[in-house]
Symmetry: C2
Subunit: 326 residues, 2 copies
DNA sequence: CTGTTAGCGCCTTCAC
DNA sequence: GTGAAGGCGCTAACAG
C-alpha cells in the first residue's frame, strides 16, 4: 500500500480511503490511485484491515455436507455473503457438543462478525464464550421450545411432522411408521419425532412401536422398510424424516416388486430435488433450505448492526407436497 | 493476551509460545498459563497472529454445491484442514472466468496459505495475480492436457469416458448416446466428451450425432432420454456425464414403463450414493471425490512447505462399476 | 527456557 | 480533501 501511495504521489491513508470509501477522495486523486492499483495488481490485505475494523467474515458450522439438504443452505449463505461483501468461514462438525465447542473456538479466533450454527448452541461453555466475545449468533434450527441465544431461523419441525402425519391419516392410512436418522443431539429430528408421536396420540391410533432409527443414507431407508414391515406386516405407510431415506425405501420397494402406494406408501421430508424426480414422486414436506441460509445471513448482519432481535425466531414455514408415493 | 501474561506472571510471548508450541515452555509455566487461559476463556486472535506468521487458512473456490459430488470434496478438504489445524475459506463461483477472478481476488485478500480451485485457473490475469502473491495452488481438475500452475489433483476424465464407452461397446451396445450438463468452461466435462468421441471413432461406430447438453438436474436426465430416443429410436444406451442425469433418465424410463437395460441401457459418472441405491443400480465410473479433497489439502500444504511439485499431476484414478442399468 | 524489541499493513483519530 | 501519528494483538528475531 505504501508502494501504491508513493507511485501515486499521495499518502498511504489516501489509498486506503480510495479503496474503501471512494467518495471521500477527489475524483482526480481517485482515478490516479485506481490506475496504479490496477497496474500493480494490488490486493489489500484483509487480515491487516481486520485488526482495526471488524472482519467481514461470517463463521458457520455445518453438519456433514454429504447426503443432506445442508448444501442448499450453504449455497444460500454463500450467495447472501457475497451480496454483502462478506466471506464464509466454514467448519464442519457432527452433532456432538464437543465438536461444536471446538468449532466455535476455532471460528471465534478469527473474530468474525457473527456466527451461523446449524442447531441450538448446546453447551453452556460455548454459549458463555460467544456471549463474552460479543458476537451475534443465528441458529438455523427448530424454532419451537428453547429460546435462541439471539435469533433462530427455521421451521417448527414439530408442526411439520404433525401436519404430515395428520395428512397421511387423512388419506386413510391407519398404521403409520416413522423412520429417522440418529436423533441424538439433533433437535430438529427430535421435534419431528415428537410431532409424529403427538399426531398418532391425537388420532387415537393404537399401533405399538413403529419407529426406527437408521444411518443417514438411502441404504438406511431400505433397511428401515425391511425392519418395519417385518415388525408389523400390516404397516401401511412409512414417514421418513428425510427424503434420502424415503428414496431408499422407494427403491427397496421396486426391488421387491411392491407397488407404491398400494402395497405400502412412503412419505419424506425436505423436498430435495430427488423427491420430485423419483418415480413414483415422493410426498414430502417442503422446506426452503436455500432461503433459510440467505435469511440467516441477512438477520445476522442486522444483529451485528445493532438491531436487537434477541430471543426471537423467524419461521420460514413449510408446505406439505402431496405426490404419488403416499 | 497481556492480561493472561500478567495474571500468570510471565511475558506475553511466553503465553504465545505456550499456546502454539507448548514444548518450548517449561511444564510448570505451561500449566500455570493454561490455567489462566482456561479461567478467562481466552481465545487468541488469529487475525492478529496472521499478520506476522502466515494465516492457517486455505481458500477454496467451488462450483455450486447443489446437485453434485462437490459436497464430498468439500468434506474431504474440511476434514484434512481440521487435521492440520487449518481453516477453510469457502467461496462459490460458477464456471465463468469472471466469477473465478472475483473469487480469487477475494480469497487472496486474506493472504491464505494456499488456494484450491475446482478447475484449471482460466484467466491469465488470475494466474498472474496468484503468481505475484506467491501462493501455491492446487487445481482439482482434469489432469490431461494443460500443465497446472503448481499441481493438479484429479483423474483423466478423457480416459474414464473412453473406458466407459469401450466398456459399453464391449457389452454389445451399438448405438451409444452421450449426455452432459453444459460443457462451456468446464474442462472435466469437455474431456469426458472428447473421450467418448474418441472411443466411438476408434470403435468405428457410425451413428451420427447422439450428443446432447441438458441442465444439471435429474430433470435434465429425463429430458435427455426423450431427446435422444426421439432423435434416434434405435439408440441402445445412454452414457450420462453425471449420476444425477443417469438417475433422471432411469426414473423417466420407469415412468414410461421401459425396461432397463433391455429397452434402453443407462450409464452414469461419479458413483454417487444415488447410483448404487437406485433400482436398477446404475453402472457408472467411480471417482473418489472425498479423497481428492483430502489429497488436495495435503499436497497444498506440501507445496506451501516449499516442496516443488510444479507442473505435476496427481492421478487419483477411477474405476468402472458395472451394475444392472447397462 | 524466558524476555525485549520491533513491526506485520492497515485504519482511527486528530490536525491541517 | 488530505496527511501524520499511533496502535490493533500477536509473533519473529535476537539476546540473555
Amino acid at each position: 500500500m505504501r508502494d501504491i501511495a508513493a507511485q501515486a504521489g499521495v499518502a498511504p491513508i489516501t489509498v486506503s480511503r480510495a479503496l474503501s470509501s471512494p467518495d471521500k477522495v477527489s475524483p482526480e486523486t481517485l482515478k490516479k490511485i485506481l490506475e496504479v492499483v490496477q497496474k500493480e495488481g494490488f490486493i489489500p490485505n484483509n487480515v491487516a484491515g481486520s485488526m482495526r475494523a471488524t472482519a467481514k467474515v461470517i463463521g458457520t458450522i455445518v453438519p456433514p455436507l454429504i447426503n443432506s439438504g445442508i448444501a442448499d443452505q450453504v449455497q444460500g449463505m454463500s450467495d447472501a455473503c457475497a451480496a454483502h461483501g462478506y466471506q464464509l468461514l466454514l467448519v464442519q462438525g457432527d452433532f456432538s457438543a464437543e465438536a461444536e465447542d471446538k468449532a466455535i473456538m476455532a471460528l471465534l479466533g478469527w473474530r468474525p462478525k457473527g456466527l451461523i450454527i446449524q442447531a441450538f448452541v448446546q453447551s453452556k461453555a460455548a454459549r458463555k464464550r460467544i456471549a463474552t466475545a460479543g458476537v451475534p449468533v443465528v441458529e438455523i434450527s427448530e424454532i419451537r421450545g428453547r429460546t435462541p441465544m439471539n435469533l433462530a431461523v427455521g421451521i417448527s419441525n414439530f408442526d411439520a411432522a404433525y401436519a404430515m402425519t395428520q395428512h397421511l391419516a387423512g388419506k386413510g392410512y391407519k398404521r403409520i411408521g416413522f423412520v429417522s436418522t440418529p436423533i441424538h443431539g439433533n433437535d430438529r429430528l427430535r421435534q419431528r419425532r415428537v410431532g409424529y408421536r403427538k399426531a398418532i396420540a391425537d388420532l387415537g391410533i393404537d399401533q405399538g412401536d413403529l419407529e426406527v432409527e437408521v444411518p443417514i443414507t438411502s441404504k438406511g431407508g431400505a433397511a428401515a422398510l425391511s425392519i418395519l414391515t417385518e415388525r408389523d406386516p400390516s404397516i401401511e405407510v412409512i414417514f421418513c424424516s428425510s427424503d434420502l431415506l424415503a428414496f431408499g425405501a422407494v427403491q427397496e420397494c421396486r426391488r421387491r416388486g411392491w407397488a407404491i402406494p398400494d402395497r405400502i406408501a412412503i412419505a419424506g421430508f425436505g423436498d430435495m430435488d430427488l423427491a420430485s424426480q423419483t418415480y413414483p414422486a415422493i410426498t414430502t414436506v417442503r422446506v426452503d433450505r436455500y432461503g433459510m441460509g440467505r435469511s440467516a445471513v441477512d438477520h445476522l448482519l442486522s444483529l451485528a448492526a445493532g438491531e436487537t432481535g434477541s430471543g426471537k425466531s423467524v419461521d420460514v414455514g413449510f408446505e406439505i407436497i402431496d405426490r404419488e408415493s403416499a
